[in-house]
């Protein structure tokens, strides 16, 4: 058993939008005009963001997290592998979590197998390989037909793992990615292959596919009220059904945090960045205002019977994270945890205790937050919050899951 694993996630938002962006533009995704990009301001931005992630490694975070987005202001990493490559040379200890490469967008999954293997070699075996199918915006960005994207995704994921575990060359006789010669050089350093994480938003079919293969399920939803606990219970039940058993490191969540000397100071310092994030970065994604592209009838990737079930509970007026109107609503969403070290510790501990989650992926740089504040919050978290979370989570997990092997299975169950 091990204590809770604390990761630093950086989204690399575009931080230079004008104050009236929300009044003028109906989305931050796909069609947000790139004439807004300002080279005078943005020069050196990637360096600044990479520095923050390298600093997380120095502070002793268990890893750094990157992900893939296209044509938006929320995350400037169309290729997270490029940032990951930089991090292999700028960090020495922490895992490099790419969560993930969006497999249906890649012409050929072999390329993902190759790049991940390179990253694993370059980082001396520190890669955690994430595979994701991509959400609505990516469907539009790359013109990916929705109806069969899940099947394509799993074919690609299985091909990648097979290419890492089975000696080549072999022919892949797949439907979507037929390949005559699969024979990647290099192989990954970790054997039999790097840990694999798959994001989902509580769809039972994704949970089942993840469980069958022995991978880690990552809840991509950003709100952590009862939903996180429910997701954990659902995933645990799916694991049981597959003859497996839940343990905290089969599960991960995404949250945001800001820590300062006191609750009041924390809020004062981060509020501008938080509202920038909620109102600009989430516009088009987790916000009803404008046109929300992430999920809906225009990206019909869910089979009709499952969509029918979804419709039965659907409430059109329901607020998303980006729709919160004031600080109290934001606090209630339990998505962005702001406060003194004591407050942040307490709220995260409650989450761990309730949802039995072992992998916490935490966003520290929020919206257009100045780097000094992000670094200060990370430092305070690493020094005053993380040690307590680690100290208390280890005996808690040992008590709850005695004798459980936390390693990913050596072979997939397929």
């Amino acid at each position: 058993m091990q204590p809770v694993q604390l990761f630093c996630w950086h989204f690399m938002a575009y931080p230079y939008l004008a104050e009236n962006f929300d009044q003028i533009h109906d989305t931050g995704w796909v069609t947000v005009p790139n004439s807004l990009w300002d080279n005078k301001k943005a020069r050196g931005l990637y360096q600044e963001y990479i520095d923050q992630l390298a600093y997380a490694d120095e502070l002793g975070f268990d890893g750094m997290v990157l992900n893939e987005h296209h044509q938006n202001i929320y995350g400037l990493m169309p290729s997270p592998n490029i940032i990951a490559a930089a991090l292999t040379q700028r960090s020495t200890r922490g895992k490099i979590v790419v969560l993930g490469n969006l497999l249906p967008l890649h012409m050929n999954p072999l390329r993902v197998a190759e790049e991940y293997a390179m990253l694993d070699q370059m980082s001396n075996g520190r890669l955690i390989a994430g595979f994701a199918p991509g959400g609505g915006p990516e469907t539009f960005n790359y013109d990916i037909p929705s109806a069969n994207t899940r099947e394509k995704f799993w074919e690609a994921a299985d091909l990648i793992v097979r290419s890492w575990t089975e000696d080549g060359p072999f022919a892949h006789e797949g439907r979507y990615f037929p390949l005559r010669y699969v024979n990647p050089w290099p192989k990954p350093l970790q054997t039999p292959f790097p840990p694999i994480w798959i994001p989902g938003s509580r769809s039972p079919s994704t949970m089942t596919e993840v469980a069958k293969r022995g991978y880690c399920y990552f809840l991509s939803s950003r709100s952590h009220g009862g939903e996180t606990h429910r997701a954990q219970q659902e995933f645990a039940a799916v694991l049981e059904k597959n003859g497996d058993r839940y343990q905290p490191f089969r599960f991960g969540i995404l949250m945001s945090a800001y820590v300062a000397e006191s609750d009041r100071q924390a809020r004062e310092e981060c509020e501008e960045g938080v509202w920038y994030f909620l109102k600009n970065c989430l516009k088009g994604h987790l916000r009803r205002e404008g046109r929300q592209l992430t999920f809906g009838p225009g990206v019909p990737y869910i089979p009709a019977p499952a969509w029918k079930e979804y419709l039965k509970d659907y409430k059109p007026g329901r607020k998303l994270l980006g729709d919160v109107e004031n600080w109290d609503e934001l606090e209630a969403s339990q998505s962005i945890i702001v406060g003194s070290p004591e407050t942040v510790y307490r709220r995260i501990w409650n989450l761990i205790e309730r949802a039995k989650v072992g992998n916490l992926l935490i966003q520290f740089h929020i919206g257009n937050m100045p780097k000094e504040l992000a670094l200060k919050s990370m430092t305070r978290f690493a020094e005053q919050v993380a040690p307590r979370l680690r100290e208390h989570s280890l005996p808690f997990f040992e008590r709850e899951y005695p004798g459980v092997n936390i390693k990913q299975p050596k072979e997939t169950h397929l």
Binding site: P145, Q292, G296, P297, P303, P316
Partner: protein, 271 residues
């Protein structure tokens, strides 16, 4: 009107049938029987006064089985060849609207001998430089969580047309109706999401193979499939009449002007 299933190798097909006379195969689009209604709409009723109208639901639409093997328009054409064999329809009149018009054209270039007369209404399917077919998928993502005004504006002459408001209301409608629209989008995404959107480049140079008399009808304000596509269809089929443009109507011209459309089509088929 009667509905029934036809069992094909690739799954069940749900079809509605009504009227007497020469067989007329009707292939539906986004705003149509099977995609917004589970029964005839006034347009189809009027057509059925003069013909035996047969309207199958596309695979995955309404009660037809989904067919996961459908990835391109070619697969849909073969689906309909199986369907026609099962119905034992050697020759028929073919009417298609929107995506259904595209399927009709693709069927006709491959089997011109099966078509007695053909009518295309706001048909997708062509690539016309500088006139991309509208992104119905993005418009189907509601604004402010519940407004489909953008979708209505694309599919009708105006977003507040009474028919538009009835068929694509804001907010959450009946589950069955929401589901029906979703199924049509899902079917559409199989064949129409790439390239953007709903076209097959080689189709245009194949249209000369359609030797049946043809009529192409377009709403003046079609914002999903631009008018230039209608002109291209009408110019490229040797026996086509000049493009018939219905003033003040949008893409869903058969819904906005059902009587007029049924009259024009029935007259053409009878002539």
């Amino acid at each position: 009107m009667s509905g029934r299933f036809l069992d094909l190798k690739q799954g069940k097909v749900w079809l509605l049938e009504n009227g007497r006379g020469a067989p007329l195969l009707y292939l539906h689009g986004f705003i149509d029987v099977h995609s917004v209604k589970d029964s005839w709409m006034p347009f189809h009723d009027s057509l059925a006064a003069k013909a035996r109208v047969i309207a199958p639901a596309h695979p995955g639409c309404s009660q037809s089985d989904e067919n996961k093997d459908i990835e391109a328009i070619e697969d849909v054409v073969f689906h309909y060849l199986e369907f026609l064999d099962a119905l034992n329809l050697p020759q028929f009149d073919l009417v298609g609207s929107c995506v259904g018009g595209w399927i009709a054209a693709e069927l006709a270039v491959r089997h011109p001998e099966k078509i007695r007369k053909m009518v295309l209404i706001g048909a997708a399917g062509l690539f016309v430089q500088g006139a991309l077919i509208g992104d119905v998928f993005m418009m189907a993502q509601p604004e402010r969580g519940s407004s489909y005004a953008g979708l209505r504006q694309m599919l009708f002459s105006r977003h507040d047309h009474p028919k538009a408001l009835e068929l694509f209301p804001d907010g959450m409608g009946e589950v069955e109706e929401e589901l029906r629209r979703y199924q049509m989008l899902r079917f559409g995404s199989r064949i129409g999401f790439k390239p953007p959107y709903f076209y097959n480049r080689p189709l245009r140079n194949r249209l000369h193979r359609i030797t049946a008399p043809a009529l192409v009808i377009w709403g003046e304000h079609d914002r999903m499939v631009p008018l230039s596509h209608g002109e291209t269809y009408a110019k490229s089929m040797p026996q086509a009449q000049p493009l018939k443009v219905i003033p003040n109507a949008g893409h869903s011209v058969h819904v906005e002007e059902p009587e007029l459309m049924a009259q024009i089509i029935s007259d053409f088929l009878a002539s």
